[in-house]
């Protein structure tokens, strides 16, 4: 494969696998889906299309970071703070981060 994006694609794949170790549904679940998503586009030779796919990959990385942060934050809040003590300040802060929890399972399929 002679592709200007080759090293970047490999780096993205490694980053995703590294992040997948913390995936709520388990590492094998994530690894298989991630591998499938990359395999699906293995024949892609068009540099601009590869760049689009890479951008999407980086987007997934950012979404996963947000998912992990939210999941941890919500668990801590549920465990240590009584229900009624909802803090408007942080909720406003979090409004910008997209809520990922409902589509946990399906978001990697369209990688």
């Amino acid at each position: 494969m002679t592709n200007i994006h080759r090293s970047e694609v490999i780096r993205l794949y490694k980053t995703l696998l590294y992040m997948g170790r913390d995936y709520p549904l388990g590492y094998p679940y994530f690894r298989d889906r991630c591998h499938r998503a990359f395999a699906k586009n293995r024949e892609e030779r068009d540099a601009t299309k590869v760049a689009t796919l890479l951008r999407h990959g980086h987007f997934v990385v950012a979404e996963m970071e947000a998912l992990y942060f939210l999941k941890k934050y919500r668990t801590m809040k549920r465990r240590y703070y009584p229900e009624e003590q909802v803090d408007a300040q942080i909720d406003a802060k979090l409004k910008n981060i997209r809520d990922l929890e409902p589509d946990d399972g399906k978001k990697n399929k369209n990688l």
Binding site: K14, T15, Y18, M19, P24, E65, Y68, F69, K71, K72, Y73, T75, M76, K77, R79, Y80, Y81, D87, Q89, I90, K93
Partner: protein, 254 residues
Amino acid sequence: MALRALVGCKRVIDYAVRVRVKPDKTGVVTDGVKHSMNPFDEIAVEEAVRLKEKKVVSEIIAVSCGPAQCQETLRTAMAMGADKAIHVEIPSPQYETLQPIHIAKIMAKLATDQKADIVILGKQAIDDDCNQTAQMTAAFLDWPQGVFASKIDKEGDGLTVMREIDGGLETIKVKLPAVISADLRLNEPRYATLPNIMKAKKKPLDKKTPADLGVDLKPRIQVLSVEDPPVREAGAKVADVDELISRLKALGRI
């Protein structure tokens, strides 16, 4: 004035893991269980890194006390932005009886040795939930403390700390050096990315033993028994209102 920050990071059972109690009730099962950095300590590390980005802090030293695996936790802290780390090596049998008072003594000694101006700790660990280390460290050092911090600002030669207290917030001014403990809403910790983990492997990690620091690890508290929380009793279905009323009467509720 650039400050030196000392940050504590405890290695605890991961928050997402279901904790199981050992059958002999001496503790919880830790073998083969995923561990990670205490979430409140992540917040403490993040705050130190943010203070460094604001040029308030010049150097961040991460500290962890415990068995060899704690070095992974320290790597994570360094990947998040700590400059160097100190691992206080404590073998497993002693680690099981290690209590906040010992950690506080170790932190106090290290803060003096490393000439730290600010000690930032998580308010409590999610495994033993002691919530004592920051307070005890401040007492041993005889420094002011700002615990349960939800906002920290540099002001003059001190800090203004907004604290989470029952039913509201309290803003206090502390002089430096000071001990701070991080509450949940202080900040949103960043993720330790793969390239940063790799870079963190090159950062210096010192090893020390409690004996080097002159701390006696004799336990002050004895754990009598560790038990599961009570299981909720199963409910029962009733066919109609009359049965419900008769059941409630039988229980003496109405």
